[in-house]
């Protein structure tokens, strides 16, 4: 589904990604871990098309097509979803309106009819249950005045509504208490299907107790320096990163 080859990316003059190779198949969950400043979040942002980053080398194929040529909104319409590390606030725009606009844009791109507000309300009633969210949240401004946990939950709700083929969770677990973490993890697990894939970017091993990855990758200095099964995460928790060749500071 996703083929990343020798991906290099800069922010300003600074090279952050220095040759990433990663292949993700439908139905898989990949975890990307690594020390602070290793480039984890950059990888997530580059895949979603953040304009601050410049891709200097390499290719990314998504279903055989050149992902890097697509605008961010086209990527979204094609089924790529990024759960933001720091979800953005949009005061004055209700969560319901925002999500319905996004949902309808994506449906339009697929040539499907748009949902009217009432139909959308029914859909929301079903989806808010997945993340155990109060429906009243839908009438509040997007992420405005939300607690950290509410923002992260809201990201998963958006994911549940937009039903992406490739979801990238950028440190969605950070700042969550253990109960909220379980809710988020359950949401991700509930949305897992044979034809979609998830990349979980995380700073802490804790999340991977609840979302079991097929593969774990260690990112350091802009490269993947080690890959393994789910047991690699536990080893990282115990031993840190310094024992891995290429990961030492």
């Amino acid at each position: 589904m996703l083929e990343i080859r020798n991906l290099h990316a800069n922010i300003g003059d600074k090279e952050i990604l220095r040759g990433i190779d990663l292949s993700v198949q439908a139905g898989e969950i990949h975890a990307v871990m690594g020390p602070n400043g290793s480039g984890k979040s950059t990888l997530a942002q580059v895949l979603a098309g953040h304009p601050a980053y410049e891709v200097t080398q390499g290719t990314v194929l998504y279903d055989g097509r050149n992902l890097l040529e697509m605008d961010p909104e086209v990527r979204a319409q094609e089924g790529i979803f990024l759960a933001f590390q720091y979800p953005i606030e949009i005061p004055g725009v209700t969560n319901a309106y925002f999500l319905r606009s996004a949902y309808n844009e994506i449906r339009k791109a697929k040539g499907m009819p748009e949902l009217d507000p009432l139909e959308f309300l029914d859909l929301m009633e079903e989806k808010t249950k997945i993340v155990e969210m109060d429906q009243a949240m839908m009438n509040r401004s997007v992420n405005t005045g939300f607690s950290g946990g509410e923002k992260k939950r809201n990201e998963i709700l958006q994911m549940a509504v937009l039903e992406p083929r490739l979801a990238i969770l950028d440190e969605t677990d950070s700042g969550l208490d253990i109960d909220a973490l379980k809710v988020v993890a359950n949401g991700v697990n509930a949305l897992r299907r044979p034809d979609n894939a998830t990349i979980v970017v995380t700073h802490y091993q804790r999340l991977l107790n609840y979302i079991i990855p097929d593969r774990v990758h260690v990112l350091a200095h802009g490269r993947i320096v080690k890959s393994g099964g789910k047991e690699l995460a536990l080893e990282l928790e115990e031993r840190g990163y310094d024992w891995i060749p290429g990961a030492a500071a």
């Binding site: 304009p51 953005i88 949009i90 004055g92 606009s101």
Partner: protein, 478 residues
């Protein structure tokens, strides 16, 4: 900030055309003779001329104020034409006599003066350069006893009302620009709503500057008598020229016992080009007086035009239980500068004021909110709520907040909220990542930001204001 945000594209100003009509102008400069000439051209009674001359003499002793956070080349007041009127405008019996060229000009602005094609439920007074060219729906309004006409006509037909109320809210000596206006104003709108009458439709004035080098000095006076209510709209445009033009208007509102006046403005004077060349200097004094008990005055403004805006629609809360409101969206792009806000002067008991100000700065624009809340000793149980939000687009622009709070009565309740935020790549990117286009994202973010103010605009204007905002900011992001 990325080059994307810096690449400010200036959308063509849609109202920049010039209309070719013969005008009756006087020479440049200002003197007592000029004032006498204006007064005689308007065929005014003696009290008007005296008032004008008093203002002029006072003006001569006054200094141009420079406390605003505004920077501009000095204005040469002797190089301005103080009177210009379309020649055809002599006493008109009906709108059919209006120069077709003028009617076409207003058609182009989307304002129909033709009674048959009148905007649904809106009466319009059209001011072209300094003179009213026509007022619609007059007859309909007169059934209710409502006087809605040009200021000039009011002086001729209702001199007693004019003499009684003119300058009672903004005295001839109030400030430099107000004194200048009092001396030379040539026309404007006048409205009187008699006791107990709720005005059945929106009233509207559409201001248009056309001639080059003329200053525009109109004066609006609105009186809501006991128990009356009226909602009033004002729109403004001007041609694209590379010299600056002066606009120094005065608006006075009076609400007597249990009366209410709602005054909405969509100000879209020519703002100058993307280099900051040309544009209107907009120095305006707007003030309302809640003279009676339980009265209410509400200002709503959407300020998107002008090179310079200096404007503080204020309310004097004199009557007990009276309410003053100010809702404002001020947008600056390119090299525009705005120093705007309000004054709420609490004099009566249980008076309430509400201020919501939203400033948006893009390009090299500079936006200042300047607001005063004053609670005088007699004003027990006064309440004020102020919310002041600034949004920055790009990093060459500025937002400044200058609140002044003066409390002389300790039973007052004051609440103040302020925020500054930046609309940037991250917000746009978030929306795009959810499948929305950049334009959709910007309009969504900006209208969300301005929501509380738009909610207070009359329906017809809310749509226009929202579109205007989109145009002013077009190309400033993404």
């Amino acid at each position: 900030m990325s080059s994307a945000i810096e690449s400010l594209v200036n959308k063509e100003y849609a109202y920049g055309f010039v209309t070719d009509v013969e005008t009756d102008s006087i020479g440049r400069g200002l003197s007592e003779d000029v004032i006498r000439l204006i007064s005689s051209k308007k065929n005014e009674p003696a009290f008007m001329l005296e008032w004008r001359l008093k203002a002029y003499r006072r003006w001569l002793t006054m200094k141009e104020p420079h406390w605003g956070n505004l920077h501009y080349e000095p204005i040469d007041y002797q190089n301005i034409i103080y009177y210009s009127a379309p020649k055809s405008v002599k006493p008109l019996q009906s709108l059919d006599e209006v120069d077709p060229e003028l009617l076409r000009a207003y058609e182009k602005l989307g304002i129909s003066l033709n009674e048959q094609k009148k905007l649904a439920g809106v009466a319009v007074d059209a001011i072209f350069d300094s003179v009213s060219v026509g007022t619609t729906m007059k007859e309909e309004l007169s059934k209710y006893g409502i006087v809605f006409c040009s200021f000039g006509e009011a002086v001729q037909n209702h001199p007693e009302l004019v003499e009684r109320y003119l300058g009672t809210v903004v005295p001839h000596s109030d400030n430099f620009y107000a004194a200048l206006n009092a001396a030379v104003f040539s026309d404007g709108s006048f409205c009187y709503v008699p006791k107990g009458v709720k005005c059945p439709m929106e009233l509207s004035t559409y201001f248009r500057i056309n001639s080059a080098d003329t200053g525009q000095f109109e004066r609006t006076l609105i009186i809501a008598d006991e128990g009356a209510s009226v909602s009033y709209l004002e729109g403004c445009t001007a041609p694209r020229r590379d010299t600056n033009q002066l606009h120094a208007a005065v608006v006075e509102l009076i609400a007597l016992d249990n009366a209410s006046v709602k005054y909405s403005t969509v100000q879209n004077w020519y703002a100058g080009d993307s280099e900051g060349k040309g544009g209107i200097f907009n120095f305006v004094t707007k003030r309302g007086k809640c003279a009676g008990v339980n009265s209410k005055i509400s200002w709503t403004q959407v300020e998107t035009g002008s090179a310079i805006t200096w404007k503080y629609p204020s309310v004097i809360l004199q009557g007990d239980n009276s309410t003053g409101e100010f809702y404002s969206v001020a947008v600056v792009n390119n090299h525009q500068q705005a120093d705007t806000g309000t004054k709420m002067i609490h004099i009566g008991k249980n008076t309430k004021s509400n201020i919501v100000s939203k400033g948006i700065s893009a390009g090299h624009g500079n936006n200042s909110y300047r607001g005063q809340v004053k609670i005088l000793p007699r004003a027990t149980n006064a309440r004020n709520y102020t919310q002041c939000d600034s949004m920055l687009i790009g990093n060459q622009c500025g937002a400044h907040t200058f609140p002044y709070i003066e409390v002389q009565n300790n039973t007052a309740t004051l609440e103040h909220e302020a925020s500054t935020s930046k609309i940037g790549e991250d917000q746009i990117f978030y929306c795009k990542q959810r499948g929305l286009s950049a334009e959709h994202a910007v309009s969504m973010i900006v209208s969300g930001f301005c929501r509380e103010v738009f909610q207070n605009l009359p329906m017809e204007f809310a749509v226009e204001a929202q579109q205007l905002l989109g145009i002013t900011l077009e190309g400033s992001v993404g």
